[in-house]
Subunit: 215 residues, 2 copies
DNA sequence: CTTCTTGCAAATCATTTGCAGGCTT
DNA sequence: AAGCCTGCAAATGATTTGCAAGAAG
């Protein structure tokens, strides 16, 4: 039933190269390294062996952000930090903190077998690059996510703040530089954020949160 | 500079269908739902709009386990639980617990912008299935991962325990039912676990951890 | 001579892109 | 007309698979 694994030369080299990497390489990063020792090896062999070795428990296949899977020689339970710019992955040690656990009543009926924790942000290298390119530009930060406001959203919201009663998108368009059609997308975003309410079909008014967001 | 978004019919339907889902659908799950309302829509349009809407901050693209990306109408910060069997994703509320933070000195030079927490395990549906298929079978549990021992590993380790001095894989093979080549793979696994040491090339001996693991 | 592996090529899966035509200002 | 959007088909990137041949027991 259980399949007999052979420690072939290819397998040994893949394993030892992975052991030397502290970078959680993707399959083809590892392939490039292994190819230097075994020029005739094929990418498929690398994929196949990474799969087999991780199933045998000799290495670990990581579920991390990004499109490619990554592999880790270190079997111990540990966490990662991911660079959203260059996709590099480093280890993170949460020494002091105790790991989260999930009591059964909060687990939605799941049988929980573990927890992945992944921080993300910009790695040291990418921070430097960003600092250069941002020089002189306005500070980034997402204008549409979370509680922030884009310029157009702010314009719409300000127009609404001036209305006594709920008004339609045409009224808003008239009070701003925007077309009615263009307004509707902004309204949708503002409604999601809770800054705008719709007391009646096609009628909109600013909420108290909306007023707070303007100031 | 900033592109003008229009709230087209397709876009509205995609958004509203996503709002009705509490299942964090993949692009093509959503495509299947949307197609019922707009039979002529194409998968590319769904992908394009999910990308655009998430960039505009109206929805959220999730980085979760599994090969396909998933999308979430709920913009609030929250965590997920992932079924390793059917790939379903549910929300998890970590109410009591305060979220982890990462002090700069532990962040490996990264500029940290956030943290993803993902529990994983078996969802209620898959638990039932597993219980059925496991009935009568031996308890699962990974034999090669972590600190556990497979039958072959145990056999090798027991053979080593009986040796006074370090011995080669041929000696081990002779003392067990295994061939020398087959032994080498088990040795590699045992070395990784710290149960076996190699005081000289091709010579192996059991460690104190190895002895502990046998009992 | 059976079992496990390999390299190569072709297939697959999720996602993205080019393009010609469409709809709205 | 200008700008954004669509459907379709073809391209892409990551990974997997079929297969004939090779190596090992």
């Amino acid at each position: 039933m259980e399949k007999q694994l052979r420690m072939t030369h290819q397998r040994e080299v893949i394993l030892s190269e992975l052991g030397k990497c502290h970078t959680h390489p993707t399959a083809d990063e590892l392939y490039e390294r292994v190819k230097k020792k075994l020029p005739r090896i094929s990418l498929a062999t690398v994929y196949r062996n990474l799969e087999i070795l991780s199933e045998a428990g000799l290495i670990r296949k990581l579920e991390v952000s990004g499109r490619q899977k990554r592999f880790d020689w270190d079997l111990r339970q540990h966490d990662h930090i991911y660079c959203v710019h260059c996709h590099r992955v480093d280890n993170i040690d949460l020494k002091g903190k105790k790991r989260l656990s999930l009591p059964a009543r909060e687990s939605k009926g799941y049988e929980v077998s573990g927890c992945r924790i992944e921080f993300f942000g910009l790695c040291p290298g990418c921070r430097k690059i960003q600092q250069k390119t941002r020089k002189g530009e306005e500070k980034m930060g997402c204008k549409t996510c979370g509680t922030g406001l884009s310029d157009k959203q702010r314009e719409v919201l300000e127009a609404l703040a001036k209305c006594k009663d709920a008004c339609g998108s045409k009224d808003i368009a008239a009070a701003t530089s925007l077309e009615p059609k263009q307004v509707s997308c902004q309204i949708t975003a503002l409604k999601k954020k809770g800054y705008v309410a719709s007391p009646a079909r096609c009628k909109y008014e600013i909420t108290s949160e909306g007023k707070a967001a303007l100031s």
